[in-house]
Symmetry: D2
Subunit: 360 residues, 4 copies
């Protein structure tokens, strides 16, 4: 199979670098194009990130000497890219406009940004949960007059550690009506340089701007139903989120208390549901699909970020500490890798799904 | 006023060291006696803690050359101590027996241990909340045949950041019926050496053995009523706690969601209740009573452990981020210093109260 | 004694905040004036630092509601300030010009900046080491035509943990000819926000721009002699510095190997020299002078930043691990608090010296 | 090729776990045997490490259900193991005796322990530096009467980041006569649980027991010559080491100042020598040999532990910040992964060399 030619917009930032690392030697996608701000344009990629390449692995060979394009110049990408991953850093209005310009130019856009997460005809997907929302692309194309172009987005990194286990329970006949979640999120989630070490050494910051709103609203949309060219959020689940920044490099941890809408499974049943969970990405054997999708650790003190974040190459969700809740029904701890599953890796999996389903 | 002669049991451990630091130059109490395990007995205090003195300030002058006694030998303390603070580290049964032996020998015992927290006639106090539980000492003395002896204990360090604000609301006519709390607790709470740096650097541990049970049960007893020589816990408040260990030296942070039993105050009212809260220790001007007892920070990203734990010399509770809760009624972040307010300092404040009230 | 009226330039930055904290209730100095960038000018100090007050103690009462002046406007300070502490953040040329403008307006300037550290007629002082360099102010005034104005500066924070012990040895007849020093420096030394937590969690950064040059050059000037209106550096001591940033909030640690120029003291003699060291600030009983000036810890694993940085209220130098060196003669570990002794506290001690000596 | 059957002694400890992780799917070695203390003996390996498996990757499949043997019982290993890796934790005398017993039972022993590092006829090897010391095994076998058995050991983890670059210079005609090195060592080097988080959060510990002696003595032996059945250390190089523990999970960093014995290369020449360095493990294409053996980073702030420790799968040495030294001749920063290159990985590379050279 010929690999699709892909571009990465915002390639020099932390999420962009993650895309490039994860796409190195990808069986379906080949990075042929990198774009960033006008400041970087014209330099080789290696020059543009000199002293700011933050990944553990070196710059991938095929990207090292690519000339960085100006991300604002859509015309340059035309003919070169079959698909772009967007990690542009700018204001929401600019991002929205730019992503739509790429799509209008027949280039599918898979985006990491929050700009289009509330746009009615843009699917926001966790591939294991709402792969069927991909069908919204038909509505999108019809409404926008696009043929090959599309925009699909991934949700916020903070929701990955609880939305899949909650969905698995719903699918098994145990919908959740309320949940209170408290997160301990890694500093890499804030990009680079992100939080000051003066706050994070011997410290936590009990606040992340905008994060609680996203963590409460996005799962409702992900769990919602497509109807009349848009997604109707599932407002039958109420969510309260406390979001904290802690001194962890990668890996968001969530302490979750759940209340079921009606029937209540026993703890063993919950565990069995999670452990046997298989979804569309696994059935389609997508290259980035973790198998298993969720891991349950029996040790009392797991999951822990450093020890568990890399499970399933950073794409699995690791769960633990399932126990009954004195206030709601059950509670547990969930963990996922925020820059892999929660950012570039999640977007790549979504792109794989869209390709497998014939949307591009 | 002549200062009371006090002893510290378990003086060489981390909590014991905190006692000694906080009691240095105390206006009412004078440390004249230190006791520890037989291994340390017979050495000067300075020798006994050589290489293991963990406080920022040096060993207090009056304690430096005291000869360490064997904590198991109650007779040695008789005649020397008007009061002992207990920070003995042993199994619960041994601690219970030993603390009772001191009390039976006419020496009041103010304890930091969890051993007697569920004993029916032993008051477990947060002086701002349940100072009236001190009256249980009358029952205790009658039932046990003690005249001067007594046992009073302080609760677990994890509850200090939410039990006082919840009590203040109850007093103001807004009792709480349910709360879900997620804590991020400092490593000093586990004593020394405590958690391995291998787990805590770039890591969190989402489990502290026994801590969630204490965090859920103890507030019910603290908020309970004295009746027939014991405390009837207030089981009308349901609590679920998620306890986590994070890479912080001192200061436990709690993310709290609250549901009110009936009437619901508005956010401004809650804030006003907390900011105007004054209780018995403040009214009595006890030496260790923080004024104010609770501090509300308006900044969006406070309280933070390193910046706020020392408020009120480590005895105040700092609150912030009060906002409405999409699942319950309100939510907020609370912080208190675990080795001061949550351990030695809290016990000293309790001893001050008992003295001011004439129990010793 | 009437307290001198002092102003703090650059009052809203981290060093400025340290000045304000340390000057609160100072017996000789009273902060009556705060100045910062035009952006902050016109606000109350509390408004200007809202959300950016980084000290553990709250904003000092007397400063809370002062209106922030524009630091560029020297005329405003005239008549209000008997002295200014400068912690201006700008380019060197601007700082130099501005500090000279204050001095020319009859306001003594005690500065934390590096801008004037190489200026021939400006004394750079560690008061315990080269208090006699204060006499350079006579030359300075004569050459510049100033009467009351003066400029005096403190050296870089990295040198405080080794320049005093080296000086003490020199005074005792054991001049050092070569030293290799490797520092592990706290993040607060870089100001706020300073190093990214992404680099500092599970990490060290083996580089601090310009720091090694300062660490090698400044001690030669501090140990130099006044001659013809300038300081002749002591180039008989060769220094090589490796400067590293580590995950520590406050406190710079230095591992030092020393070679003596001729006579070599035995280890006990070195220790005795350090422990008995008393210098001019101690003899004059300056308010901020630590007594003792240097502390030697016998434990094998001290000094440690968190446990020892606050010795002498953050003004003492703590030493340990003295042992012979297989390559040079002796080696040891030194520690000092970088934002107190190494910044605002060191400058305040210098101002106290200048006042006690009649220079202002 | 049939893989050699190997056993791991001390398999449940941190170094043992590293062996098992690194040996998973090794092309030449197959783990068939794990041994530990009597306490673990009889359990499956998974049971024996339950709650204490500290590697990021899960327990390797082939090891998961192996029954743990008693490491003291040499007879059990006979016939099962063609080779054992020793990571036994005990006193030196016991380790020495035990390792000799295995060797006497015809089982080659490749050891991570310090017990035999000073034994005259035991080679201590960094394969890139002193592969020729393997010939000492001939003397060893002759003197001890062993035929298939042998003992070979690896040096301390702290020396890996500077002994290879120093050797490369020596080979190129620039022997070093003196060096002063200051290390910042990761907590994993102390095993598990290792340093308390109470010391390491916002802290460094400027002392590691015995480490400086090893860091100064072992390089002399590694750089020494074989003569009359033993190694004559190269005492022409004087070394002083300052060893510090810092808040880093993996990766030891060293700040090194070097003085050359006679001729002095220019900086470009030094860099070229390091970058072109190829040695026996690379020439033999040993499976664990990193290519290149040493990496030079041009960025001013590298190497950094988290970003560079995994270079060459954790087996490469990363260098940076080469510059002239005002006291000696040159200085630089070196970094190597202490639990891979500095422990299990270094020992595996040594075993590969011994196999390739026909010693087993």
């Amino acid at each position: 199979m010929n690999r699709m030619k892909v571009g990465v917009l915002g390639a020099t930032g932390m999420v962009g670098q993650n895309y490039l690392s994860l796409l190195d030697n990808h069986p379906w996608f080949e990075v042929v194009y990198v774009a960033a701000s006008p400041r970087s344009a014209g330099k080789t990629f290696a020059q543009a990130v000199a002293g700011r390449w933050l990944m553990a692995r070196p710059i991938p060979e095929p990207v090292h000497d690519l000339i960085v394009a100006d991300a604002n110049d859509v015309t340059q990408a035309v003919g070169q890219c079959d698909l772009v991953f967007s990690a542009i850093e700018s204001d929401k209005e600019t991002i929205r406009r730019l992503e739509e310009a790429y799509a209008a130019a027949d280039i599918p856009v898979v985006s990491n940004n929050s700009a289009h997460r509330a746009t009615a005809d843009v699917p926001m997907m966790v591939p294991e949960v709402n792969w069927e929302h991909a069908e919204l692309i038909k509505d999108q194309r019809q409404q926008r007059g696009w043929t090959r172009g599309l925009i699909a987005v991934k949700p916020n990194c903070s929701v990955q550690s609880y939305v899949t286990p909650v969905y698995a329970l719903k699918q098994a006949g145990y919908p959740v009506s309320a949940m209170i979640v408290s997160t301990m999120q890694a500093v890499s989630g804030a990009g680079y340089p992100g939080p000051s070490s003066y706050n994070m050494i011997d410290g936590i910051v009990p606040y992340i701007g905008g994060e609680e709103e996203k963590s409460e609203r996005e799962p409702q949309r992900i769990l919602g139903q497509r109807s009349n060219g848009q997604i109707i959020p599932d407002t039958s689940i109420k969510i309260a989120a406390h979001c904290n920044r802690v001194a962890v490099i990668d890996g968001h941890t969530a302490c979750v208390s759940l209340k079921f809408a009606d029937r209540k499974p026993c703890l063993d049943e919950v565990k069995a549901i999670w452990q046997s969970f298989v979804s569309e990405p696994q059935r389609l054997s997508l290259p980035s699909a973790p198998i298993p999708a969720m891991i349950y650790r029996e040790e009392p003190d797991r999951p822990q970020p450093r020890l568990d974040r890399d499970a399933g190459k950073g794409m699995a969700v690791t769960l633990g500490r399932l126990r009954s809740c004195p206030v709601f029904d059950i509670r547990f701890v969930g963990l996922s890798h925020n820059t892999i599953r929660g950012a570039a890796g999640g977007a790549i999996l979504m792109a794989e799904l869209l390709k497998a389903k014939g949307y591009m």
